[in-house]
């Protein structure tokens, strides 16, 4: 059950500099997963790391979108079609079902687990606004994918880059107020750097927005026994990775402030 199931890589797509989407099939995950849940990805001989699922397709097809930031992610990004990875999951709680009008905010690779949610909104025919933030055009994933999804409603998809190389120059949070004022969102979903999420959280508190964010902590077991992924009283691997705004209230002392490393030491996020 919690044993990595080895599967072949079916296809690899480059999303941006150092960011790749890796396709594979796994029936068990595919049959159960809800957008926002995560999986554990085993790179034999290297490491096992948590990953969001950026594609939930037909015939058990799934994908992860990986940003190379260290050994495991670099190895993942250097794999080729036909190579194998192991997967187990899905784990944790995903996003709640979309409402009639939804806002999705992703920071960089943080957009990964939000893609299947956006696709769900489109499929169900409910309104969805997407805000994607990145550092620069060639370091920001999903621009093309999302542009094509929103071909017919381009105004629903906005991109911000820090250097202005694409879309609005600045941070996603700069555009938040404008979009929120024009809409009445039943759900606001966000995933990305924790400091960005904290800002969105502060704003959501102010505006009473029904926010849900996906957080990251050091995941080891993934099944809720090892105590590696605590954020306050919550285990990211069981009660998370998605937290609702009322839960974020309870962890406001740590959320965006402190994380823990592999040893469990407190690390400041600032």
């Amino acid at each position: 059950m919690h044993t990595p199931r080895v599967c072949k890589i079916l296809k690899i797509e480059s999303e941006a500099e150092n960011i790749k989407t890796i396709y594979f099939k796994d029936r068990r995950i595919s049959r159960r997963i809800v957008p926002g849940q995560f999986i554990m990805v085993w790179i034999p001989g290297v490491d096992e790391i948590p990953m969001g699922v950026s594609h939930i397709g037909l015939n058990s097809e799934l994908a992860i979108t990986v940003e190379a930031v260290g050994e495991a992610t670099e190895r993942l990004c250097s794999l080729k079609e036909g190579d194998v990875i192991g997967v187990r999951g899905p784990y944790g709680r995903g996003f709640s079902n979309p409402g009639l009008n939804n806002l999705v905010i992703g920071g960089g690779t943080g957009m990964a687990p939000l893609i299947p949610l956006i696709e769900l909104c489109v499929r169900e025919g409910v309104k969805v606004n997407v805000l994607l933030g990145g550092r620069s055009l060639n370091r920001t994933p999903f621009i093309e994918k999302l542009s094509s999804i929103f071909k017919s409603t381009p105004s629903s998809f906005r991109v911000t880059t820090e250097d202005g190389s694409y879309g609005y120059r600045g941070l996603v949070t700069d555009l938040l107020e404008e979009i929120v004022l024009k809409n009445n969102f039943e759900r606001v979903y966000a995933c990305g750097p924790e400091l960005m999420l904290r800002k969105i959280y502060e704003y959501s508190i102010e505006r009473k927005l029904p926010l849900e964010v996906s957080l990251e902590r050091y995941i080891k077991c993934g099944v809720g026994v090892c105590g590696s992924c605590y954020i306050g009283p919550y285990r990211v691997c069981v009660e998370g990775p998605v937290f609702k705004i009322n839960e974020l209230e309870k962890i406001r002392d740590v959320f965006g402030e402190w994380t823990r490393d592999a040893a469990g030491r407190l690390i400041s996020l600032k």
Binding site: M1, H2, T3, P4, V6, M40, W42, P44, G45, V46, D47, E48, I49, V84, G86, K220, C221, G222, V223, G224, V225, C226, G227, S228, Y230, G232, P233, R235, R260, D261, A262, A263, G264, R265, L266
Partner: protein
Amino acid sequence: MASLEIVLGSIRLANPVIIASGILGTTAEGIKLLYDMGAGAVVTKTTTLKSKPGNPNPTVVSTPSGLLNSMGLPNPGIEEMSREVAAACSEGVPVIGSVAGSSINEFIEVAKRFEETGVVGVELNISCPHEKVGLIGQDCRLTYQVVKSVKDSIKTPVIVKLTPNVTDIVEIALEAEKAGADALTAINTVKGMAIDVNTGYPILGNRFGGLSGPAIKPIAVRCVYEIYESGVKIPIIGVGGISNWRDALEFFMAGASAIQIGTALMKGYQVIEKIKRGLIRYMKKNKLENLNQIIGLSHKRC
């Protein structure tokens, strides 16, 4: 009426369901939550002097009716851990500090620091099957030395956690008692491994790991029974594969004075209250007032 209160030497607990070391006992809030969920006490993640990142992932893999883990004792070091533990203790949680080290001095130092935080006891982890400390619990002389040294250095009760990965667990148990141990915990995990047959790789980053969960229950019950049968005078804390109140009873009857649960928490915190409710129901049905009435019962049956 039926009371779950138990006494382990000088440690008195409102109920016998203790959270095993390495299971979620890593932070103050985590420890507090386990207590709020009904635990009689919480053993911390095993702590060393300096921080340790633990072994590379995968550190956990399922096996039939069990879990193999090779966490590798990740912990933030006693400095940081003692802050977490102090916070939990100050809220009234009975915490047991799990201690390990690569030298006798390290054991002493960590135990002392735990003592300062107000723990109700320390548990010496000389039994982790995939770590060096595990070698101590496989050797009578080392066991004696480590236990004696810690006993001589602190006043807090010292519990010694034993490994089943030995030819004769009784021998080690008697040695720990002789060295002054106040209680024994049996058992730590059983050394095992799992191989992925698609790639040939051992799955765990550390290759070897420790088996826990229902698969090892018969081994753990046997160990508790053997230790009790040997005439050890100090209380035994039974652990290994306990998932429900019937499993817990099996350990009490084998001779345990309290139990710990680990892997069963995978199914949710409710398992704690479920075990307690089951025990109370059983005691009422059988008109028992306290658990002492059944501790070691099986030994009278042969």
